[in-house]
Structures are given as C-alpha cells and as structure tokens.
C-alpha cells in the first residue's frame, strides 16, 4: 500500500495550510446550525410532559457532554498516531484537543448541575453521569498538568500521549464502575433525569445541536492546531516564509 498520502497529509506545512483553508468551512455552518438548533430547542420543541420546560437544558448539556468525550477520544487517537509514527502534527492536534475538551467538560458539569437543581432540589447529587464527567475533568487536568510539567516539548508530547492512551482505555471502565456503584447505592427518593419521551420535534433540534457543536469543535481545533504546529516548527524554513508573508 502506498503511504505517501499519509506522510504528505501529516507534513506540518501542508497541514498548516489545509487547516487555515478549512476553518471557515466548519465555523460558519456550525454557527448557523447552533443558532437553528437553539431556536428549535428553546422555541419550537414542545415541553416535556414530566419536566416541563426544564428539560430544555438538554440542548446545551448533551452536546457539551458529547464533545467532552469526543475530544478525549480524538486526543488519544491523535496521540497514538503521534507516538507510533513520530508525527509532530499529530501531537500538535492532541495538544489542541485538551483545553477544548476540558472546557466542554466544565460546560457539561455546570449545565448538568443547573438542570439538576429543579429536579433534585440541589445542585450536586452523585449522579453517575455527573460523577463520571467530574472524573473526566480530573483526567483532562492531569493530562494538561503532565504536559506543562515537562520542559522539553518533544518529551512532553510523547509522555502525555502515553497518558492519553491509558486514559481513554480507562474512561469506559470509570463510566461502568460509577454506574455499577450508583445502582447499588441508589436511594429511591432521588429522582433521576427522566428520559424525555423522544419525539421528533424534540429530537431534531438536539441532533442539529450535536452536529453544530461537533463542527464548532473542529473549527476551534483547527485554529489551535495551527498555533501548535507553529510552536513545534519554529526553526523550520517554511515557518519563516509563512510568518513573514
């Protein structure tokens, strides 16, 4: 099999240019989709029969939670590619995923708490989903902590890559163990998130939001990726040409 496309794709100058050209193609559709999804979710979708209008938090909570997990997975995949093929651009992508993923984890946690307040009467309950989001946040913080603690940038890339891969194997185990723990300790009085009865007028805006958030994430990733590539390639000739121009 011919792998030249792979190395060409991974070559920093190529990726730098490509990321720059692609960014608007992700940014504008995402803005449009998020606006549409928000309108659909907050205005058009009918209220839930159990939770009334309170369920509408789902339109920002669920996509954030989705991104928090997706970012970690992408980070681990990019890290693995960087580790196996010694590809700097892949490490740059992994480094770009971390802060974005951490922020969307914060968003998922906070919106989950705001959603929980009317449901549980308190902001924080050891709900399995909130608990695993919290552990995920710690994983992100550990990853970024390790990265910043190692001075040599290449070693930081490679060491944090190992951590990302270990973490991504661990995430499903954490998730499973927390749900198992919750099923044992569940007090009957605690009301769980009622699964909103899925109807198309409710679901469509949610799906639109999922796509919109994903595109937004890609756009943000591309912008950060360009910066990270520049940081890793400072001494390369092509950087001088790009920056001077």
């Amino acid at each position: 099999m011919d792998w030249t496309w792979f190395h060409r794709f991974g070559s920093p100058p190529h990726l730098y240019g490509l990321a720059g050209r692609l960014t608007p193609w992700f940014a504008w559709p995402s803005a449009f989709l998020i606006a549409a999804g928000l309108y659909g979710g907050l205005v058009l979708a009918p209220a839930d029969y159990q939770q009334g209008d309170g369920f509408r938090v789902i339109y920002v909570h669920a996509p954030s939670a989705w991104l928090s997990l997706m970012a970690y997975t992408w980070m681990a995949v990019a890290a693995a590619i960087g580790l196996v093929w010694r590809m700097k651009a892949a490490h740059a992508a992994a480094a770009s995923c971390a802060p974005l993923g951490a922020w969307f984890t914060v968003a998922a946690l906070c919106t989950g708490m705001l959603w929980g307040k009317p449901m549980w009467g308190t902001y924080w309950v050891w709900d399995p989903r909130l608990t695993s989001e919290l552990v995920l946040l710690f994983l992100y913080l550990g990853y970024m902590g390790l990265r910043s603690a190692i001075e040599d940038p290449q070693r930081a890339d490679r060491a944090s890559a190992v951590l990302a891969i270990v973490g991504v194997i661990n995430v499903p185990i954490v998730r499973y163990s927390v749900e198992w723990w919750n099923s044992i300790h569940q007090a009957p009085s605690v009301m769980k998130f009622g699964k909103p009865s899925i109807s198309w007028p409710m679901l469509t805006p949610l799906l639109i939001m999922f796509v919109g958030f994903t595109l937004l994430f890609v756009a943000l990733l591309l912008v950060r990726l360009r910066g990270e590539i520049l940081r890793r390639e400072r001494h390369a000739r092509w950087v001088a040409e790009v920056v001077a121009g």
Partner: protein, 225 residues
C-alpha cells in the same frame, strides 16, 4: 523461555535485597496506613456500629493513599543511578523487566498492606469473619494499583516535585478500583457474597497486567530520551 524467567528473578531478587537493606523505608507506607486509619475514629466517633459503616471507605482510601506514597519511589532511584538506562539497553524486553519490577513492588508494598488490613479493620469494629475477604480484596486491588502506579511513576520521572502530579494522574484512574474494592470490603463486612466486585477487581488486574508494563516501558523510554 527460561532465560526470561531467570531475568525476572534477578530483577526481583535485586529489588528485594535492596529493600531489606533499607527495611525502615518499607515501613513508612504501612505506618501511614495505620495512622490515617487511626485518625478516623478520632475525628468521627468511637461508636462501633458507625465505624463499621465507614470501615470500607476508610480502609480503601487509606490503602490507596499509602500505596500512592510507595509508588513515588518505584522507579526514582533506578532512574537516578542509571539502572533504568541499563535495563533499556540490556537487549531484554524492557516491558518484561518493568513487569518484574512491578511484581517486586507489589510484594513489598501491596502485600504488606493487604496483610495489615485485617488489623486495621479490627480497629474499625469489623468482625473477624470478614477478615479473609478484606485481605483478599486489598491484595487483588493493590495488584491493579501497582500496575497503574507504574505507569504514572514512569510518566513523572525526571519531573521536579512530581509527587503531587503523580497523585493527580493516578487517583482519577484508580476510581474503578476504589469503587470495586470498597464494595468488596462492604460485602465482606455484611457477610454477603464478594463474587461480583472481586470479579471486577480481577478483570482490572488482568487488564493492567497485559497493558500497564507496555505503557510503563514506553514512558520510561521517553524519560530517557
């Protein structure tokens, strides 16, 4: 292959001999475990029924922190005196050598903690019938914990003041072990069947046995680069 086995025996033999020349260092994590678990009745209540309720949590958080304390030194000396470098250049599988190192680490920290946990549990008003279950669960849980810790210890090699970072990396990953381990202990105290949580702990240990030495070897190589 017999030469691989004799290799592992040498690595373990060296670590055990070194440990017994520095016996007092072996005691530090155990003392820490004893002291932390002593603090709980003092902070909480001497009431036996309440102590029994919190015993699984106290035991497991104590064991977790105590083995974390030991993990910090798993590779530190070997990295400083160049032994890790020699392992990496020995022509033997670094993964295998580090696996052997992790085994000796468990023998020196996890196993003593497991043997000590019944004593600590007795202090928390747990009935003697629960002791075998508790010791077994701590033994099994610390296997997985040593393996997990080997990865974090290797990752934080060469970082100044890496101790706090080591905890930050290890503890979130250890959440499943805490959950299953504490649950196993709770069931042992209730006299219920331990099978389910022990099964999960064993699954974690097996996963760790297969993957952790690989990750640790990769991390050690990176630290030597």
């Amino acid at each position: 292959m017999s030469s691989a086995v004799s290799c592992a025996r040498l690595v373990i033999g060296r670590d055990l001999r070194l440990a017994f020349r520095n016996r007092t260092q072996l005691l530090h994590p155990l003392l820490f475990f004893a002291i932390v678990t002593t603090l709980f009745p003092l902070a909480l209540t001497p009431e036996p029924s309440q102590l029994r309720d919190v015993a699984p949590a106290v035991l497991w958080v104590g064991a977790l922190l105590a083995s974390l304390l030991a993990i910090e030194f798993l590779f530190r000396e070997d990295a400083q005196d160049g032994t890790l470098e020699q392992y990496a250049l020995s022509g033997r599988s670094l993964t295998w050598l580090l696996f052997a190192k992790t085994v000796s680490h468990w023998l020196l920290s996890g196993l003593p903690l497991a043997l000590m946990s019944p004593i600590v549990a007795y202090g928390l008003a747990v009935s003697p019938a629960a002791m075998p279950g508790i010791a077994a669960s701590v033994a099994l849980g610390t296997i997985a914990l040593s393996l997990l810790g080997a990865i974090s210890a290797a990752l934080t090699l060469g970082i100044r003041r890496g101790g706090a970072l080591l905890s930050l990396l290890t503890l979130p990953l250890a959440v499943p072990l805490l959950i299953f381990g504490a649950q196993a202990t709770a069931r042992a105290i209730e006299g219920a069947s331990l099978v389910a949580p022990m099964y999960f702990l064993a699954a974690c240990a097996v996963l760790g046995l297969t993957l952790a030495p690989l990750a640790a070897a990769a991390a050690v190589r990176i630290s030597l680069e």
